[in-house]
């Protein structure tokens, strides 16, 4: 069975198109882009990530209702079913919903919802609704979706207090997605600093920093993060807590980055092309800018994109344990707090939907990082 594989490989090599002249003239980044473009999964993931971040930036536009508004008569309402075919069997291209009516089961004191089938509420796009400011600057009241008053639309249902889970999920993307980014940037700075010092000086400094990193890696990160996060003063405002959590995540997470940076620096320093540049009497600065930085930058993008998911997962876990982001600020982890026990889960399973966004985000970053890693070294065949 092994033979089959090697022969298949040879066949693939033979089929590879003869490289035209543009291949030899293309710059490193052009080559990276060419190789990356072939990785369909990574391209798809990049699009998903762009969509998610646009969702975070323009969450008010995507949201249907105000994310904090309590629709008292619709507490714990299940998601609306979206229809294309009505009672009479007529098909309409424009999707529509029926409104729900609440009834209280007097025995179990549970709220039950049933659809009122007499009026259709078509879902309209780009409707006017609650006013908001685009990026906090430009006034607007246009929302992606909505139904006409007095109808209400909850694509993901509502929580215990009757707040729209869909709009809350859109809004929570802001904190969940930015904390991953910010945390990675901070740990990247720390990682470059320590990794750089370690790789540059070598010797005793290198040894001490490497042992320190090894030690930090051997501490189970979640208990440490929990301990640090619990030390944030309870009187802090949401913004302070946000930055506090980011810094906690970064202080625990920089070690792997520092290791990667050091390893790559050492490898590059000894690389043949650096030697060649030095022999041809190129200045140190020129070598760093023209040769080291470009190969280093592509490597960094890979490492960074693979570090974001860890941060997002850690923030979600912290907020889920109620020691991360504190309400009224919302992140996906905060939203998942409502789904903590089996009772609320069995009554309203739709409260887990924000978790799907976490999974999709992390999955997309992993695929993207994978594709980037293949593309980052375009000269490797």
């Amino acid at each position: 069975m092994l033979r089959r594989i090697s022969s298949r490989r040879k066949a693939a090599k033979a089929q590879a198109p003869a490289f035209d002249e543009s291949y030899y003239l293309a710059s490193q980044w052009q080559l990276i882009w060419r190789k990356f473009r072939r990785h369909r999964l990574a391209i798809g993931s990049l699009l998903v990530i762009i969509a998610l971040y646009s969702m975070a930036l323009f969450s008010e536009f995507y949201a249907i209702n105000d994310y904090q508004k309590r629709h008292v008569s619709f507490a714990k309402a299940p998601p609306h079913t979206i229809y294309f075919v009505d009672e009479a069997g007529d098909f309409s291209l424009r999707p529509f919903i029926y409104q729900m009516k609440q009834t209280l089961d007097m025995d179990t004191l549970q709220r039950n919802y049933s659809e009122v089938r007499d009026t259709k509420y078509p879902i309209r796009f780009f409707v006017r609704g609650e006013p908001y400011k685009i990026l906090g600057l430009i006034d607007s009241d246009i929302h992606l979706m909505g139904v006409e008053a007095p109808g209400v639309f909850f694509p993901f249902g509502t929580d215990d207090l009757g707040r729209d889970v869909f709009s809350r999920t859109m809004h929570a993307a802001r904190i969940s997605l930015s904390i991953g980014f910010l945390g990675v940037i901070i740990s990247f700075v720390l990682g470059c600093l320590f990794g750089g010092i370690s790789g540059y000086f070598g010797g005793v400094v290198d040894l001490v920093i490497q042992r320190l990193i090894e030690f930090l890696i051997s501490i189970p990160s979640i208990p440490l993060i929990i301990a640090l996060a619990a030390a944030l003063p309870p009187e802090w405002s949401s913004t302070q807590v946000y930055f506090g959590i980011t810094i906690v995540l970064a202080t625990v997470g920089w070690t792997t980055l520092a290791r990667a940076v050091r390893g790559k620096l050492l490898e590059l320093r000894e690389a043949d092309f650096v030697m060649a540049a030095r022999i041809s009497n190129m200045g140190d600065m020129d070598i760093i800018i023209k040769h080291l930085l470009p190969s280093f930058a592509s490597f960094l993008i890979v490492v960074l994109s693979l570090s974001v998911p860890g941060m997002i997962l850690a923030e979600t876990a912290l907020s889920f344990l109620q020691i991360g982001i504190r309400p009224p600020a919302v992140s996906w982890g905060v939203l998942l707090q409502d789904a903590q026990n089996i009772r609320s889960l069995s009554q309203s399973p739709w409260l887990l939907i924000p978790g799907l966004f976490v999974i999709v985000t992390v999955l997309a970053f992993n695929f993207l990082g994978d594709g980037l890693r293949d593309a980052a070294d375009p000269y490797k065949q």
Partner: protein, 331 residues
């Protein structure tokens, strides 16, 4: 070889000492010290303390000393086996944490076994059948496993068990065995509850290991010695398991060093969701109630056991791989 083991052990002792320093820093971090928490507790209970009494207490706990002196005082007590008193549980910490730590580590070790038992065969299959449908399916499942937060997976499994089978799978023991002394029946009861936590905690690491196994094995399969062995007429299966697989197992063994801390980490949150009587939920509660000595002891022992696990995996790697053994012996 003996030198290397000795060197690792000395280094481990040094690490263990570092653990106590970090733990002490964590104790000092929260705003206010544990005495003020204690005093406010007493006041809530209706007991008023005079200034002299507070001063005496400060003296007793060494809070009037500089930080390093306080560290050595605390360290001295820990060495004597005195871990302090839990105000929340009103018991000495030493009596509280033993069983929880034992359970935590049993679950972590079982999860590690689960991880290897799943990852190694799948990794081998994926490498040998590269780009086959099976390979793609396993890769995809692996990626999902890597991306789903532990606690989400736990919640989903709980929900499915509840809605489909009407089973409540939280906890590690059935009602009648909670707090009961250990017996054969209790052990069997625990075995019934174990699969869900082990699957949940093990899944995250499995995906990573499959990729490592697949990657290294693919590298090995293209090497000259494989071709030589085949040209000499060695059967495919024997060839595969006798040489490349053995080499590819090395990174798997060294992965134990990071797998173990991550299993403990993952276990913390999973245990909270599933209501397991392990160290994680207790740590969380102790942090929220500022039960300082309990926090410190839990954090310290979880880390100490992890450091020991890491050292064992380092030594194991040298035992298994002669190449590394030569290299280390030479340096």
């Amino acid at each position: 070889m003996r030198n290397y083991v000795l060197q690792r052990l000395v280094y481990m002792v040094f690490l263990l000492w570092l653990v106590t320093v970090v733990t002490f820093i964590v104790i000092q971090l929260p705003p206010g010290d544990y005495l003020s928490t204690y005093i406010s507790r007493l006041e809530q209970a209706g007991e008023d303390l005079t200034d002299e009494e507070v001063a005496a207490l400060r003296e007793q706990y060494g809070l009037n000393l500089p930080v390093y002196a306080r560290y050595f005082k605390w360290f001295g007590q820990v060495l004597q086996g005195n871990l302090g008193f839990s105000y929340d549980w009103e018991k000495p910490v030493r009596d509280l944490i033993g069983e929880r730590l034992a359970l935590t580590f049993s679950i972590a070790i079982l999860s590690a076994i689960f991880t290897y038992a799943v990852a190694i065969p799948i990794g081998i299959y994926s490498a040998v059948h590269q780009y086959s449908i099976g390979d793609y399916i396993f890769s995809f499942i692996g990626f999902i496993g890597m991306s789903i937060p532990n606690f989400m997976l736990a919640l989903i499994l709980l929900y499915v068990a509840w809605s489909e089978y009407g089973q409540n799978l939280t906890g590690l023991f059935s009602q009648e065995f909670q707090g009961a002394p250990w017996s054969w029946e209790k052990l069997i009861d625990m075995a019934k509850h174990l699969p869900i936590p082990i699957i949940v905690i093990g899944t995250g690491g499995t995906a990573g290991l499959i990729r490592v196994m697949r990657g290294t094995l693919l590298d090995e399969l293209n090497k000259q010695y494989v071709i030589t062995a085949r040209s000499k007429g060695l059967g495919e299966v024997k060839l595969l398991f006798k040489y490349p697989v053995r080499v590819a197992l090395n990174p798997i063994i060294s992965s134990l060093a990071w797998l173990f801390p991550s299993l403990i980490s993952g276990g913390t949150i999973t245990a909270y969701v599933l209501g397991l009587p392990t160290a994680g939920p207790m740590l969380l509660r102790s942090l929220l109630t500022q039960d300082t000595f309990l926090t410190a002891s839990l954090l310290m022992f979880v880390t100490i056991l992890t450091v020991i696990g890491t050292t064992v995996s380092d030594i194991l790697l040298v035992v298994v791989d002669p190449r590394i053994r030569m290299e280390r012996a030479a340096s």
